[in-house]
Amino acid sequence: MPPDQNDIIEIRKKVTSGEIDPRAFFEMLNQHSHNGLIGVQYIANADNWVELAIDYDEKLIGDPRTGILASGPIISLCDMASGMCVMLTTGKFMQTVTIDLRVDYLRPAKVGHRVTGRMECYKHTRSVAFVRGYAHDGDADSPIANVTGTFMFLGAPQ
């Protein structure tokens, strides 16, 4: 049975207060919803960044001629990492929504490789958080994509 809206809010409050760490958060969410479909896994985090990954999966192929993953799963991955790094950076529970997310593909992801996305929140105001990061397929020094985004806080900080 997937957690309902209230459970999720409670869980997110515990993440921002430090009661639940990000790894446990993703383990709770992983089986359910879209994150389960693409198989988002927690890798690491610090105060203002989060690293998540997805394994190569044939059902996520965007171009059957090359076997390269679609960009949707990579956007999902970076969107999730962004939302989480914003929560960690502010240290407060605030519902956030994505305003926009831009992905620049620097090169195609290698077929069969796991994709890691790392996003950091480098600035936040009362109403908006700014994130940047990248995705790589094994070598962080040779990223496959550069990612930037903005998020809006819904309601006043609690």
């Binding site: 957690p3 996520l60 969107d79």
Partner: protein, 130 residues
């Protein structure tokens, strides 16, 4: 002509049809596989739908499979305008420019009516002709 969608489109449960003007319109049913926070679509699933709409429209314009150039996405910018609800989502795309080397495509996704988009994406593709 028939369009073969990639495995990712199938995983999202996307179906294609054409409207009265011959425009390709995609639909994506709501379900756990596209859900983010409870009662809402996942932003990534919306981005996926917009991406497939752009690809399908571009492939359709480029000609038959096997003869058309490879379209490589270079930049993808997704704007989220409204929360996606627990209902059917539609998407369609417009090709702003189709050149020899580049294609610029805009996709929109909507639910209750097309003039209330829930999200849009601008995708710039590099066209690789053999």
């Amino acid at each position: 002509m028939t369009l073969t969608l990639p495995p990712y489109a199938e995983a999202l449960g996307i179906e294609t049809s054409r409207d009265d003007n011959g425009r390709i319109v995609l639909t994506m049913a709501f379900g756990p596989h596209v859900q983010g926070r409870p009662k809402f679509l996942h932003g990534g699933a919306i981005a996926g739908l917009l991406e497939i709409a752009a690809f399908a429209t571009l492939w359709d314009a480029l000609g038959e499979e096997g003869e058309r150039p490879q379209a490589k996405p270079i930049t993808v910018t997704t704007d989220y305008m409204r929360g996606g609800r627990e209902r059917l989502t539609y998407a369609a795309a417009t090709i702003s420019r189709l050149g020899q080397r580049m294609a610029n495509v805009e996709s929109f996704a909507w639910q209750e009516s097309e003039d209330k988009p829930i999200a849009a994406a601008r995708m710039n593709f590099l066209l690789v002709r053999e």
